[in-house]
Symmetry: C2
Subunit: 302 residues, 2 copies
Amino acid sequence: MRITAIVEAASGPPPAGEVWVGDDAAIVAPGDGLLVLATDASVAGVHADLALVGLDDLGWKALTATVSDIGAVGGRPRHALVTVCAPAGTDLEHLMRGVAEASARWTCPVVGGDVTAADQVMVSVAATGALAGTRPPVLRSGASAGDQLFVTGPLGGSAAGLRILRAGGPGNAGEAALVASHRRPLARLTEGQTARAAGATAMMDISDGLALDAHRLAVASGVGIELDDVPVAAGASEEEALGGGEDYELLVAVADPRRMASSFAAATLRPPIAVGRCTTDASVRTLRGSPLPPLGYEHRLE
Amino acid sequence: MRITAIVEAASGPPPAGEVWVGDDAAIVAPGDGLLVLATDASVAGVHADLALVGLDDLGWKALTATVSDIGAVGGRPRHALVTVCAPAGTDLEHLMRGVAEASARWTCPVVGGDVTAADQVMVSVAATGALAGTRPPVLRSGASAGDQLFVTGPLGGSAAGLRILRAGGPGNAGEAALVASHRRPLARLTEGQTARAAGATAMMDISDGLALDAHRLAVASGVGIELDDVPVAAGASEEEALGGGEDYELLVAVADPRRMASSFAAATLRPPIAVGRCTTDASVRTLRGSPLPPLGYEHRLE
């Protein structure tokens, strides 16, 4: 089957003793330490407008969003399972090429999957990861009052890129970069592992916008949040940074910001950007002293 | 969220040090030995007719089909991730109740998932499993000429149950049992683990009918297959047993049938049913000396 061939070309042959695509189940070596599991689905018309982005971009995004969740607890992705539901006639090779590119980029081979008919294109990815060493995972719930909050990069680029595509496409290099961050978001895997090693107390990826995701971290940790600043991607708006989502930068709480900064510098990563702090009063949600706008993408079914 | 509550009620609290539903990723203890990974998707209108079966049955089937794939290599399922795509207004609690019932039945807690909007109900399940000990997994490719072939139970029940539902529903206890095997198929997990321990050379679950799946095992192993008999579920036809699919009984090749029979007896399992043998001539596919009919369900998209 051609799809299997594409995946095999991207993932390469399995190590000795492992079984990847082709049998009832895949068999892989156990990883170091705790096992991390994440899953994420991308649906055409909901998570991606196929009039504006390619099937390959949908495939890229589905895999990248899933490995981002592994990175957001400080884990390293190891293996992915990819399920594609699609109408007859869908260019599955095009879709799987994006999956394979993301798989190669994040060193997360696709070891199995399922392909089935459906009325709508849908890609569901499940991934495993390893949490090396004995340090616990970094959860949303670990922040304490007094912890400082950082993000790993400027926000709003994906939302701005979508706006530019809707308006007819990029007119210059800056707009093209925003479109690229919409079509091919990046997972901050090294950043997540480095933050965990540097003692981050809480962490999550920003998939639904800083305002909503910071609120979620605050709820899980039982703290308030005072934001001083929102780093906005060049060409994006602050509203896009707060509410646009799908940037996949990490939101990190730390008690010792200097230690994290030096760990990021030692790993030659972009310095984390300070955005605010956690407070004792769990009802607080402010931006520059005013109430934080209730922005952010929510997947509502009911 | 109510869905999370249903899953948590079914799965119970995680063991100390583990994180299940609610964070970016789930964190679980590593299993013994090799890690087994499988995934399967069930789409309303393709894998289940929601005019005939319930949303809970779709949920049950999606999880059961996935753990069946773990069992089909001799593994023990450990954890499931469940993704549901559905239109607004879908009774997700009803769907997740079936998932939770299967999760409890197969001792495979749901530790994470994703819920998103879509035009059609789709359930994608990924599961991990453990392959205890040092014996290799039992693959489709391990059979040799001279190995005997067995199945773990009579076939065709699921297809017969669907036929009965289409004709207006069951009229007696026998028909009700066939409908139950369509709505709530069983995974042969203990059988798979017992067959592996008893030296099975090749194994797979019969999800697309004995004729097609036996052909697949023969291709993977490079052997021919001579079937003497097809065990047909009471009230089903031989055509349903050969081509109906979704019975999830196991097809097992063994070099030492007496050892497998005594292992099954010691585990108080139904005795495996002899169906034929593997031959040297890899082109052979016969049933009672005649060509095996080319029956079986294939998921074709192109």
